[in-house]
Amino acid sequence: MPLINMPEFSGTLLDEFAARGTARIDTPVIQPAAPFLDMAGEDLRRRIFLTESETGESLCLRPEFTIPVCLRHIENATGTPRRYCYLGEVFRQRREGDNEFYQAGIEDLGETATAHADARAVNDAMQILHNLIPGRRLNVTLGDQAVFEAVVRALGLPGGWQKRLIQSFGNNAHLRHLLMTLASPQAETGLSPELAALLSQDEAALIAHIDRTMEETGYSTNASRSPREIAARLKEKQSLAETRLDGSALLLLSEFLSLEMPLSEAPAALAGFADAAGLAMGAALVTFEARAEALADLGVDLSKVTYRAAFGRPLDYYTGLVFEVSRDNAVLAGGGRFDRLMTLLGANEDIPAVGFSLWLDRIEQARAR
């Protein structure tokens, strides 16, 4: 039986949000579908409820709150920093669980003291859950996209490979596949003699050739990728194909991805890892440590928080912190930092953003037990 009514602890939850100085924001249930598909990818399509307006616009039932809240913020142009809270129904086709359920959460937009804002988001989620489900042990797991990116950059791989690895962070099966590809020499990608001859020329001649071919085939008027872009990537690809990750670098990357420890030990362990590996990870480690300190300042026991190096989300707008609070394998809260999202959604300036959402149906079940 789907949850039709607001969960009975909704009032308590809204009080928690108000006590934290957040402003409640409402968004329409029916949303344009394009921003969700653009941000999360086409895979989302079969998990949302899509429909079409009479005029052909693609619409969906709100599958989550972060994007609508961010869009509302941009539309209202109220300036930053702003902390919003929301509570409402979301709609998703799930294999397990109902297709409509309630979510609530906080989005913290424009706070430039990012370590503090990160820590506050994690702490808020933990405290609220602690108050809603008193006396139960909660598991908190934390990861950091920026630390992984720093490791990849420090390994000195060509740009194309760095991009591939960073893109797949959080998708462990795909990441393992990439690492295997990097480790094993591939069969030559078999450049045709014609293409090899083209590549041996200078770039200008290559671009001219591509341009000419586009003209001749009537493709140029609507071409999305320009001759210059194709030529540049062809050169990049040549260097990619010749890259092998040497054994020790591969080992380092695997070693990093297997790191899992209490957050209290993580800053020292990461610094030790960087030293031993001879990797310059600079700013990412500073941010990581500052966040951990800010969490400790808020009274969080860092020995009860798990840092897992491979924990991430394979969406390109996540930039740093990701975290999850769970109990008995059910994720009750998930959040993270998404500094890239606001500009992707059309904000004119960079707006740092961090937030989390609470799965109210699972919280209700956890309370009932």
Binding site: L37, D38, A40, G41, E42, D43, R45, R46, G160, K163, R164, Q167, S168, N171, A173, H174, H177, T189, L195, L198, I210, T213, M214, T217, G218, Y219, T221, N222, A223, S224, R225, E229, I230, R233, L234, E236, K237, P314, L315, D316, L344
Partner: protein
């Protein structure tokens, strides 16, 4: 004893080829009423009914279990039905209607030969062009399975295309396509090339059985499958 319904394509080569197979299988199809009728039966088998439907309706009806058998392309089965293997069984591949569902990109994308190349291009696309990579196709499900499931590529948008899909890249409606091709000549004429690992499905016409519980132990069902298999 209940009637067994077999759905066959209602027109064209598929109809002729399917009828020929049934003929060879000793199950000759005769139209009920006039030649253009959409109902038929099998000579000498009063308990078998033929429904002539469009190929994509056959996929839908067989998925819903409203017909017992159908002859249609595997592409339409896999595209049209979620969890196809749970709902239907491909009882026989019939050796005609061969066509591949493929990922094709503009020939002039000299740097793109594989799905991994395409993944790289897709990852950068938005920052370079202000939008995601667009794929024109009528095969939403197969595209998602291939891109997201098999190759970890998430960042693209599907643009629905119900016809003349090969023209979409040159017309600027999309960057690349996922479409069905039998000889590749239309792709070539439109200056598109198939990626080396871009064959999503090698499709052909199939005899497909709905996994209906009442088929269990029905000797007639097994006999039809057996006869058609021998005729291929």
């Amino acid at each position: 004893m209940s009637t067994i319904t077999i759905a066959l394509p209602s027109k064209g080569r598929m109809k002729e080829d399917a009828s020929a197979i049934f003929e060879r299988a000793g199950l000759p199809i005769v139209a009920v009423g006039n030649e253009r009728s959409y109902r038929g039966k099998i000579d000498g088998h009063d308990d078998i009914e033929i429904a002539f439907l469009s190929a994509s309706e056959i996929a839908r009806e067989i998925g819903a279990g409203t017909v017992d058998f159908g002859v249609t392309g595997e592409d339409l089965i896999r595209e049209g039905l979620a969890d196809a293997d749970r709902k239907v069984e491909i009882a026989a591949r019939l050796g005609f209607g061969h066509a591949d569902v493929v990922v094709a990109v503009p020939e002039i994308w000299l740097d793109v030969d594989t799905m991994a190349d395409l993944g790289d291009v897709a990852a950068d696309f938005r920052s370079r062009h202000g939008r995601r990579l667009q794929i024109a196709t009528k095969y939403w499900r197969l595209t998602q399975q291939h891109f997201s499931g098999s190759h970890g590529i998430q960042l693209y948008r599907i643009v629905e295309s119900l016809g003349a899909t090969e023209g979409a890249p040159a017309a600027g409606q999309a960057d690349i396509i996922v479409d069905i091709t039998s000889t590749g000549s239309t792709l070539k004429a439109n200056h598109l090339k198939i990626l080396s690992d871009g064959v999503i499905l090698k499709s052909q016409a199939c005899l497909v059985r709905a996994r209906n519980a009442e088929h269990e132990g029905d000797a007639r069902i097994a006999a039809i499958v057996e006869a058609v298999r021998k005729a291929v």
